[in-house]
Each structure stands twice: as structure tokens, then as C-alpha cells.
Point group: C2
Chain length 345, copies 2
């Protein structure tokens, strides 16, 4: 095993000090990442070393490399929160030894070494041995989006409806199927006609096109019929503010991304007072640290079964060999549908 490895390395440290976060866009990757060789990391107590085959590029990665993801960057270390590969080494600890030689989907804990590299290090506790029949494409994105989908839906009451913006995303597709199975009605908001049919098939109860001339009336009608109180929002711009205003009493605008640069204004503050509306945030990392280990195990197991049984599938729009990732990233992210993944040789 070589003692050097190739990785996409972070060019900056810490958290961004200036504003300007725009979700899932990275127009100048070379300002934030460089391809380079560094010593292969060594797993510590409770940790494992994984030979990575494929890694996901999630909106949270894009936020992180720019310093906008609430977790400090380590300059010169690889980025990348999740991937799939084979456990080749384990630090002290029973769990790691049991995983040695197994194929795992993994999430990189803050004490680890990122997934956008030939080798990654993480806690053995957050590596999931792959069940038979789960493909590498699905396994590479097994944790962040599906677990986020499951965690978000815990905010919605049984039988209730909820609003979900930017629903054509991979996360939106996961949410659609999970919502139907849990008897929750997804009111999916999209900005094009194409994804409407698919989202309905996957399980969304309503799909509304924000660019349609009848959108305002359509939204009004659905909101007054279903009376949703949860609005899961990746956009956080003026269109989101309008949705929150159109919703009824007790409406909770729950922001988990910022895809839009327009201002997120509280259009009528008196609704916060007299109609008990609120604005909050959602962060999977917070959810995970406030949720019991057993509850999480249950969620992870359920997620894997869904991929194995074909209920969920990952649509990969672009596969980027690590050597070409930096130059091809802007164009790959500009695709409206599907995930971008990094291939390690």
C-alpha cells in the first residue's frame, strides 16, 4: 500500500469570514480546492481507513469547501463528506476490526480525513456495511441525503401535508417516496415542467410549478385545502417568503439551504405575533447529535433497504475522475437534475 495519496485538498482554513453563500454553485473551484498528494492518513482509536472507490458531491460539500457549512476547514486536507469503499485498516477498537475487508458506505466525522481522496478516515460507528444488492452509485450517497430526508420528515405529523421547495433535487425525490410511505402529503415546488411527472410517480401529492401563470392560485388552493404548517426550504429567497406568507396559522418556515440570492424577508411581522408563525433552520448535523444512536441505526437500516429494494435510486448525472474534477465541476453542477460523483481509480 502506497504511503502517499491523491486528494482534492482544501485551500483555506476555518469558517468563511465574508458573506455570499449561494447554494450548490462553485463557479471557481480552483479558488477553494487543489489536486495534490499528501501522506496517507493513519486511523486512530475507533477509526477505520477506507480505500475510496466513489464519493458524493452534495450541496453540503459545496458549502463546506467555501467555508459556509458550520464546520471548520483544515487547510491542505481533503474535502468530501461521504463515499463508498473498502475498509483496509482499522485503529484500536472492536468495531473497526470487524469491518476490515468489508465494503462500506461512510460519512466522514470531523476527526477524520475527507472522502474526495484515494483514502479516507472516519469513525467505524458511521460506516455502514453494504447489504447485498446495493450498488456503488447508491452507496456513495447513502447517508447525507437519505438520512436528511428521513430526519426532516420527522418534523411532519402523521397524515399532515408539508411544503417542500426545490423539490427536483435528489433530496426532494427521496422525500417524495418516504412521505407517501409514511402517509404524509408532500406539496412539492419546482421551477420546470420536466420533473413533475416523476415526482408524482415517486409519491408527491401535489407538484406546483412556480413559473406557471396559475402558480399563485394553485398554491392558494392547495394551502387552504391541506393547511400545512411545515415548509422545508432550500431556497431562502423572496419566493420562499411569499410561500410562508401564503401559509396559515402556525406555519414554520424551516430553512436548510440558500439557493437564491434574493432577500429572505419576513413580509408581515405581525403574522409572527398573531398567527404564531416562525422561521427556523434545519441542519442534519444538529439532528444527528440530538438523536439517539438506536434511532439513527433504525433510520440508516431503513434507508439501505429502500435502495436494495429499488424504492430509492440515485440518478447520477456526471461522473468525474478525481484528476479532472476541478476543471469540470462548474459545468457538472449546472445540470438541473441528478447527482455529481467523484471516481477514484
Amino acid at each position: 500500500m502506497p504511503t502517499e495519496m491523491l486528494g482534492l485538498l482544501l485551500r483555506h482554513r476555518g469558517i468563511a469570514t465574508k458573506e455570499g453563500y449561494v447554494g450548490n454553485r462553485l463557479d471557481r473551484p480552483a479558488d477553494f480546492l487543489e489536486l495534490g498528494g499528501i501522506p496517507r492518513p493513519v486511523p486512530g482509536p475507533g477509526q477505520i481507513l477506507i480505500k475510496v472507490r466513489r464519493a458524493a458531491i452534495n450541496p453540503s460539500d459545496i458549502a463546506f469547501v467555501q467555508g459556509y457549512y458550520g464546520q471548520a476547514r483544515m487547510q491542505g486536507q481533503p474535502a468530501g463528506f461521504e463515499g463508498v469503499g473498502t475498509v483496509v485498516e482499522a485503529g484500536p477498537g472492536l468495531m473497526g476490526r470487524l469491518l476490515k475487508g468489508r465494503d462500506v458506505a461512510f460519512y466522514v466525522t470531523p476527526d477524520g480525513s475527507g472522502a474526495w481522496a484515494e483514502y479516507a478516515v472516519t469513525q467505524a460507528a458511521v460506516a455502514l456495511p453494504l447489504k447485498k444488492g446495493v450498488s456503488d452509485r447508491d452507496a456513495a450517497g447513502l447517508i447525507v441525503n437519505p438520512v436528511t430526508a428521513a430526519a426532516m420528515l420527522e418534523l411532519v405529523g402523521a397524515g399532515d401535508a408539508f411544503v417542500f421547495s426545490a423539490a427536483a433535487s435528489q433530496l426532494g425525490k427521496f422525500v417524495a417516496g418516504l412521505a407517501r410511505d409514511q402517509g404524509k402529503k408532500m406539496i412539492a415546488l419546482v421551477r420546470r415542467e420536466d420533473p413533475i411527472k416523476l415526482l408524482k410517480e415517486l409519491g408527491a401529492e401535489y407538484v406546483l410549478n412556480e413559473t406557471s401563470p396559475t402558480y399563485a392560485e394553485d398554491l392558494e388552493r392547495v394551502l387552504s385545502k391541506e393547511k400545512p404548517v411545515i415548509f422545508l426550504d432550500a431556497v431562502a429567497g423572496s419566493a420562499s417568503a411569499q410561500v410562508h406568507k401564503a401559509m396559515g396559522d402556525d406555519a414554520r418556515w424551516i430553512i436548510y439551504g440558500k439557493l437564491d440570492t434574493s432577500p429572505a424577508e419576513i413580509l408581515d411581522p405581525s403574522e409572527m405575533i398573531f398567527r404564531n408563525k416562525s422561521v427556523e433552520g434545519f441542519w442534519t448535523t444538529s439532528w444527528a447529535s440530538n438523536t439517539s444512536f438506536f434511532r439513527k441505526l433504525l433510520v440508516f437500516g431503513e434507508v439501505q433497504n429502500r435502495f436494495r429494494d429499488g424504492q430509492w435510486t440515485t440518478h447520477v448525472s456526471t461522473e468525474l475522475p478525481i484528476e479532472h474534477a476541478i476543471e469540470r465541476l462548474p459545468q457538472a453542477l449546472a445540470q438541473p437534475d441528478g447527482k455529481v460523483q467523484i471516481l477514484l481509480s
Copy 2:
């Protein structure tokens, strides 16, 4: 007893259908109110009839007459949420009979008849027999502001600091004293130099002038020292948004009024996600309906003792005889300090 009475009557019904709420200003009172004679109301079961001596004008009244207070208006009926007077009649029920002939401070329940009139009707349960030594000036505003102050401070943890905007208000003065007695540190925001000394004497730990050239640094320094998470805000404009942004993790921006017309923008939505910040509302009516009867009794009793013992006092800037109230209201409300009260003959 005459069967007709004079009152300031509402000219519109229901809730306002257009936006435009600006707190505690009523530039054209005659658009919303008219002085008129109507039949004296008759108390129903559980209700009492009060001969009103003096009534308060609170920001909630000003919002209500314009239809911005979350409670439907009854066209042709008197406005006014609180006052002081003598119980002259009681509908069926023990509590009302016991109050007959007593001087009471009262709040008008939605089933009652407003306080800006010679006679008012409300539930006997929300009339407080006056303790000896409580003046009519204090009694006329005994409920809304003091109870709001007490209810708001329940949001602040023991020993914690909190930010309070528009602190020169009567409510702000109540909060200052109560906060000190409860060991909570008030960071009071004002827009002039005059009220600073008084607020400190009353009990505010810090008083910052938003118009001072050193305000931004002063705020920064106090916030980083005290780390408040509660921001009680009557302003809900761009200055409030800046305060919320300057606050640290878990900061809750709790809006209870809209004194400013500038937009209440969430300046950095990513702070909702990664720093667990939120925007909420506070409405005393909601608090009262979610709080036990005994808890409320305790709060009301405590409030009256504070006035009797001189810890709290009501500064009345203008007394308006009901006959002249409509023409003099805009000027009276323009006074920066003190309450406006209506005198009934």
C-alpha cells in the same frame, strides 16, 4: 342609570385585509373611530357591567382599531381593551355578584364591550378588585403592559441576559424593574439619550443608544460578554435584523410589534441552519390562553403589589376627555414617553 352611553365606536368590522401596520401611530383616527351614542350593554352570565372612569390607550388598541390585532372588530361597538371603574351590575354568577360596588381594574374579553366608553362589559374573572393605595392612573393600565412584561420575562432563563428594543416604552420600564428583581440582565436599546438614566435606575443592566456613533461596537462588546439568546423586539425593521445577526448561536428574535416600516430581513439564512437561530412572535393573548389560571392569578397579584408599593408607576403624558379624543389622539401618541389615557366623566 341612563340606557344610552357615549363611546369611541369602531367604524370597521373584522380584520384588516390590506397590509400597512405601523406600531403605535394613528394619523387619521376619524377613519377608524367615531364618537357616538349606543345602548348601554347588558352583562350576560359570568359578566359584569363597569362604569368606566379611565381607560388606557395601548399599542395593542391602536393596532386593533385598524384591524391589525388578530381579533375581529365589531362595527359600531366601542374599542378599548383595559381600564378602571366601578362594578355597577352583574349578570348571573357568583363572582360577578361579589364584585358589585367594587372598584376594579379590568381587561375586556372578546365577548365583552370595549373600555373606551362610559360603560364596559367583561368577564368577572378578568376584573381585579383594587388593593388600597393603587391609583386610578396605575389601575387603568394595570393588566396589558405589566402582564406582558411578566410573561415575556418568563422566556428568559434565570441569570441570563436578554436584548429589549424600544426600551423607553412603558412596557420597557416595567421590564427593567422586573428583570432586576428576577436577576435577569436587560440590554435595553433606545434611540435617544434622555431615557438612559431612568432605565438604568429602574434596573436595566445596559442601555445602548442606537443613534450613538459607538453603537455598533457597544452592542458587539455587550453581546460577546453576556451572550443573550432572547431578543424581545417591538420594532421588526432593519435595525432589528442587524441585532439578530450580531447575536450568537441559538439567538431567538421574538417580535411583538412593528414600529418600523423598513423590511425585517433575515440577513444571513445560513445562521438559521448552522447556528440554530430563529424568528418567532409573542402575543400576550396567546400567552394567556396557554397559561394556567393560577399562574395568571399569581402574576396579576404580584403586578398590583408592585404598583401599591411604588416599585412601578405609570407615567401619563396626556389625559384625553372622551369628547376630544379623536382630534387629539395623533398628537398625544407622538409624545415619545408616557401613556395616553382616556377620561370618562
